[in-house]
Amino acid sequence: MDQKSAGLKVTFFFCQQIDEHQDVNRRALEKEFGSEIRFFPLPCSGRIEPQHLMRALESGADKVYVITCPEGACRYREGNMRARKRLTFAQGLIEEIGLERERLELINLPAGTITTIDKLARELLAREALVGPSSLQAQALEGKKLGVA
């Protein structure tokens, strides 16, 4: 089952260097999916911090992608390498509370890729869902039903 059919809420942090018209290109997708997807353009993927990833999961994302430019092609030299390290660190953090590390995924674009953020996001949403809706959301919904949240 793809991620769209699985009803996952997906957050995309992405290096805005991969699509110079990202501001316009993501709008149609945002309208189509509404609150199911969220985009966070970054001046460089090296700006990502574990805290951003935690906040994304905490605020409802079932799956979080960090999309970086190809290795060796970072405008600021090492940003995408830092993004990888920080995402790996954050995966360790969420495992401490029993969340699957697959909820956080790095997409390092292959060298020479020319794409737009909407096309890329659609491709990722069409991928098979490796994780289901987060147990955090399930518990929150259950809590609401029980009146404890």
């Binding site: 999961l57 905490e58 953090l93 969420i94 401490e96 518990q139 809590g143």
Partner: protein
């Protein structure tokens, strides 16, 4: 700088288990520099605890605050109108910070989220290395500013031991031999004669044996 590392989440959870309203207090000084107790780390821990509670269907309230320094009263005072509203304080300060907060608010439950580790320097991004034992009787002036007590794995004042290889310590090949560093640096400075001098033994009573150490300066008192 005082360095520290976050405790395992399981240990933190156990300490705060009886409490529902948690105030996480970070420190913007040493432990922020070593990426264990600053504003970012406070945010991460707060998120983790909230998500964990949601997973386990527990009700929890977590508030985040980071003081510029958690070991100085003027900064701790920022907690005055806040601390009574929470069941427990989870401190991301060093051991001194935890104790200082508990001293000021003696009724408050204050628990540590960090293991305070050592006094050290930021060697490079993401690497902190111990280089001072706070012995209270500094001999760095004799040893080209390389502390043999801290940086020699054997703590030798009268080194080298002869066990180093290619400038690396036989105890830990990732560590440079402190005595090789001392000799090379003194040689470069033309100060090798410093090693020929006989010095009085270190005064270890300045480090231990007399209880908690104090520094008192009249000119700084009010």
């Amino acid at each position: 700088m005082i360095t520290a590392e976050r405790k395992p989440l399981s240990e933190i959870k156990e300490m705060i288990a009886p409490y529902r309203k948690i105030l996480i207090v970070g420190c913007g000084s040493c432990v922020a520099e070593c990426a264990s107790g600053g504003e970012k780390e406070v945010g991460i821990l707060a998120s983790l605890l909230r998500m964990d509670a949601r997973k386990e269907e527990r009700d929890i309230e977590v508030k985040e605050i980071t003081l510029d320094r958690q070991c100085v009263y003027e900064f701790i005072d920022q907690l005055t109108d806040l601390i009574d509203k929470y069941d427990a304080v989870l401190s991301l300060g060093c051991g001194a910070g935890v104790q200082a907060v508990a001293e000021v608010f003696s009724q408050a439950i204050v628990v540590p989220a960090l293991n305070t580790t050592f006094i050290g320097e930021t060697k490079e991004a993401g690497l902190w290395v111990e280089n001072c034992r706070a012995c209270g009787d500094c001999k760095l002036g004799y040893f080209a500013a390389v502390c043999p007590v801290t940086r020699c794995s054997k703590g030798l004042f009268n080194g080298p031991c002869g066990g180093s290889k290619d400038g690396k310590c036989e105890v830990d090949p990732d560590t440079s031999c402190a005595w090789q560093l001392i000799v090379e640096r003194l040689d470069k400075r033309g100060q090798l004669d410093l090693l020929e001098k006989v010095y009085p033994p270190a005064d270890w009573s300045r480090q231990q044996g007399k209880g908690p150490r104090k520094i008192k300066r009249e000119d700084q008192t009010i």
